[in-house]
Amino acid sequence: MKKIVIFMALVVVAFTSCEKDKKNDVPLPPVPNEEELITTFKVEFTDVNGVLPTVSALFQDVDGPGGNNPTAFDTIRLSANATYNAVITLLNESVSPAKDITVEVQQEGVDHLFCFDISAGLNLTINKTDLDANNLVIGILSEWITGSISTGTTTIRLKHQPGIKTGACELGDTDIELIFFTELN
């Protein structure tokens, strides 16, 4: 008899030990779009001499990767033989109000690096002008020196390099990679 009681107790244990499951919220899934995305990339160029008009280029994909296609992917159009100060802004516009993610990249500058690659034939030089806590460049701020009239592409990448940042672009994984058509007139 005692054994039968033990037996029954074990039956109960076997089927209740799983009951510390998560609450079963099947009919009410979490509301999406709370993901932390970077939906918008903006770069704004101001002439160091304050003469040329301010220019900006935008990439915008509000619903994130997949789904609807990006709504904006501008060409960078700068004047030839000029020097611009460039400022990058990153936004998450899938939430309301939109979140500015640039601040975070700046705060965690030791883990982040912007890289700029200029295609051959495009007469452009880019110098990063901001530094992280370890005195390595970040690239949110930069100086763009344009040469003679030319066209090509500028690839802008944001690399996430937690604990491994040395200034080299090859390390880490990529959070942003955009290839902008660039025209110097």
Binding site: A14, S17, N33, I176, E177
Partner: protein, 773 residues
């Protein structure tokens, strides 16, 4: 040379008395060591100058015997040293003859009984406590000894079995009598099973699972623990092991026995712990590849006259690191990883697990009730409950993360499954057995974190009838099953909650036979059809598959996938050789797979290729073969090979993700140590895997890796203990030449080489209480 001959315990158990020359004797021929019955053993009846054969169950029947002396002689044709039994007819009570173990001079080969698997489908049963055969410590690795079974890996810690090129949703894994239900659709989701609990692992090829579900398209893997034994005292084993690659260790303990005055309680408990550190390729460490695993289970059985009740509970928990170099943000990263000589993230050795990682917890509870209505009818009812939790942590914390959210997984999937299964087995006659069954399942899935698959509720009902006719020379089996499956999905679409429903229903069936041709050949044939409803990811996934660098889009209007499978097999066994060859052909109506589509999708992280889940008509065919040739009495040479071809007939190209053809050669040396219970073996194994040339470049980012050759070896020592158990000690070396290679079926082949040399030691110590029986 003296040998212990594994022959014959002849038991004459039953007879009755009437007039002269109407006496009957029944008996059985059994293997002395395994006590297994030996079918088709030849027995010479001296007084009547005639031969009889035992049937498929090892039984023989002699009727019309006259009173007086009777001499039976078991003839060595099937490996029996002539064993002579004399008795006096009539016998009034059952007599059992125990034949002494013979030691004798053998000139040629070690003789053994040739037992055939008589099922109409190809397959194989492995005993997991035979360390000389069982390799590795995951279910996938352990099954790789079976012809036609290969593995699909994500690194070295996530290993999934593949049968004839089919895996995941196309296989049914039966764990302890119930279908294992986890997130098995995912290629990086390994079965949540500790193979140490299993006593037997059985693989059945083809559309085979009528009793377990409609969806055993590629086959069934049956993981069976030791049965609850009501007539044994405390017994069990301890397994200890270690491996050099990753400096890992595992230990496993199993205890079982029975208790109670009338021996009506039986129990079985088991536990395993496993830990492994950073693993390495021949040249570098693979950062973040440590893992740890704990699993335990308990079973208790209660038996009265016709009723047997047992309860089982098991839990399997694993934490595993995902190789850091496999985490990539976009296609450029992937291309860089692929072209790089070695991954940029090189690790140091550690047992710590960092992100990215997986945490999985699987609970399985089961109550089984067996009721014997009479000698002929047995009803089994099983209720099972499983809870599967899977947490995946990304390397990358998301932007705008809060300190609390950093501790949360990128996503978590919870899956609750209840199954109810009733079946009744009817022995219509000695040769005809049939089975009726009903199956019901309710399943719910809920996620938190990033959307990967939606929440859903699923119900499935099935009914089946199978039967088997078995004669001395042939068997015939047949079965039919009908299933209905309903799915309700809960997800947000454009900010509003939608609840679409889907229904699928279909029949599956199987018919087959096997037949002996003489004593050395067995032929088998089977034809069957199976189907599966599309899985949740094939219907509803939509978005970037992180880590796969692809956008995967499901199709909500996807239809069921149906397979028609035909297989033909021939088996030959004699002292000269053993040969087992099977050929199979599968035709799929609506094979679901990912197809690339253009153009790539532009995102802020660059362009990604897009893959849609599509259905196409596919043929998948090939063969598996194994040949064992004893070269001398000590050496056996084994040649095992598999070839597989899969054509997408709709898109006119090879099917993506099919294992490459392979050849395995083994040289095995076995030697009993003179006059002791000790035995030793040495085995050398060469594995040749060819390059998978049958692939479409658009389906993949990188060409298939080159073929490779691995040399493995192992040495073992075993001692037969009291009872049926054996103490075993095995030292093995995998990839002993430290060859650099990448396998086509390893998802990490884009990022890093496969594992380098790995030494393993394993020890199995039986536990046996002194009083036997």
């Amino acid at each position: 040379m003296k040998f212990i001959l594994s022959c014959a315990m002849v038991s004459i158990s039953w007879c009755f008395l009437a007039q002269n020359c109407v006496y009957t004797i029944k008996g059985t021929v059994r293997d002395k060591h395994t006590l297994e019955a030996i079918p088709f053993a030849k027995i010479f009846v001296v007084e009547h100058d005639k031969n009889i054969l035992t049937d498929s169950l090892g039984n023989f029947l002699l009727s019309n015997l006259c009173a007086g002396n009777l001499t039976l002689k078991c003839i060595p044709h099937l490996g029996c040293e002539p064993v002579i039994i004399s008795t006096l007819i009539p016998i009034n009570e059952p007599i059992i003859f125990f034949i002494e173990t013979h030691t004798l001079e053998l000139d040629e080969y070690v003789m053994e009984a040739f037992r055939f698997r008589r099922e109409s489908q190809a397959g194989m049963m492995l005993q997991t406590n035979d360390l000389s055969i069982i390799k590795g410590n995951t279910l996938g690795e352990q099954l790789s000894r079976v012809p036609g079974v290969t593995t699909m890996n994500t690194g070295s810690s996530i290993v999934k079995p593949i049968i004839n090129g089919m895996h995941s949703n196309r296989l049914v894994i039966v764990n302890n009598g119930i279908r294992q239900e986890g997130q098995q659709w995912g290629s990086e989701h390994a079965p949540e099973i500790d193979p140490n609990l299993a006593e037997n692992l059985e693989v059945i090829h083809g559309a085979a699972g009528l009793q377990y579900g409609p969806d055993a398209i590629g086959g069934v893997i049956i993981v069976s623990p030791q049965k609850l034994l009501f007539d044994k005292k405390l017994h069990g084993w301890v397994k200890l092991g270690g491996n050099s690659n990753g400096k890992g260790a595992f230990s496993s303990l199993l205890l079982a026995g029975s208790t109670g005055k009338s021996k009506n309680f039986a129990y079985r408990f088991h536990g395993t712990t496993k830990t492994n550190g950073t693993q390495n390729t021949p040249d570098y460490l693979l950062k973040n590849t440590a893992l740890n695993e704990i699993s335990y289970s308990g079973a208790i059985g209660y038996r009265v006259k016709r009723l047997e009740l047992d309860v089982f509970y098991s839990r399997f928990t694993t934490n595993l690191g995902i190789f850091t170099g496999s985490h990539i943000g976009n296609l450029t990263d992937l291309n860089n990883a692929f072209t790089a000589e070695k991954p940029t993230a090189i690790g140091v050795f550690t047992y710590q697990i960092e992100n990215p990682r997986q945490h999985i917890d699987h609970h399985l509870s089961r109550v089984q009730l067996l009721y014997k209505w009479n000698e002929k009818i047995l009803t089994t009812a099983v209720y099972g409950y499983q809870y599967n939790m899977r947490q995946e942590y990304d390397l990358h914390k998301s932007y705008s993360a809060t300190p609390e959210s950093l501790k949360l997984p990128a996503f978590e999937l919870n899956l609750w499954t209840s199954t109810f299964d009733v079946k009744t087995e009817i022995k219509h006659s000695k040769m005809w057995i049939s089975n009726f069954g009903f199956f019901g399942m309710k399943q719910s899935n809920a996620y938190s974190g990033r959307f990967f698959i939606p929440n859903f509720k699923k119900s499935q009902f099935g009914m089946y009838y199978t039967g088997k006719l078995e004669r001395e020379q042939w068997t015939f089996d047949y079965g039919v099953r009908f299933d209905f499956s309903a799915l309700q999905v809960f997800m947000y679409e454009q900010d509003s909650l939608i609840r679409p429903t889907k229904q699928f229903a279909n029949a599956s069936y199987s018919v087959g036979f096997s037949k002996f041709i003489g004593h050395h050949f067995l032929t088998r044939f089977n034809f069957g059809s199976a189907w599966r409803p599309p899985s949740i990811n094939e219907l509803y996934s939509n978005g970037l598959h992180h880590g796969a660098a692809a956008i995967e889009i499901g199709d909500r209007n996807m239809n069921k996938e149906i397979v028609y499978n035909a297989q033909l097999g021939i088996e030959y066994k004699s002292n000269i050789a053993k040969l087992n060859l099977s050929v199979f052909y599968n035709y799929f109506d609506g094979y679901i797979n990912l197809q690339p589509s253009f153009p790539p999708v532009l995102t802020i992280v660059g362009a990604f290729p897009v893959f849609h889940y599509r259905q196409s008509n596919v043929q998948l065919y090939g063969f598996n073969g194994q040949m064992d040739i004893p070269i001398t009495k000590f050496f056996t040479y084994t040649l095992q090979g598999s070839a597989l071809f899969a054509d997408d007939l709709t898109y006119k190209k090879p099917v993506f993700g099919i294992p490459a053809n392979r050849i395995i050669q083994r040289l095995r040396f076995t030697l009993p140590i003179k006059k002791t219970a000790w035995k030793t073996f040495i085995e050398l194994e060469g594995l040749n895997v060819s390059k998978q040339k049958r692939m479409d470049n658009e389906d993949d980012y990188a060409p298939a890796p080159e073929g490779y050759f691995l040399l493995n070896g192992q040495v073992g020592l075993s001692k037969k203990m009291k009872g049926e158990q054996t103490m075993q000690f095995v030292v093995a070396c995998q990839n002993s030449t430290n060859t650099r290679y990448r396998d086509y079926m390893n998802r990490f082949r884009y990022f890093a080489d496969d594992l380098g040399r790995n030494w393993t030691v394993k020890l199995l110590l039986p536990i046996q209480s002194n009083k036997l029986k």
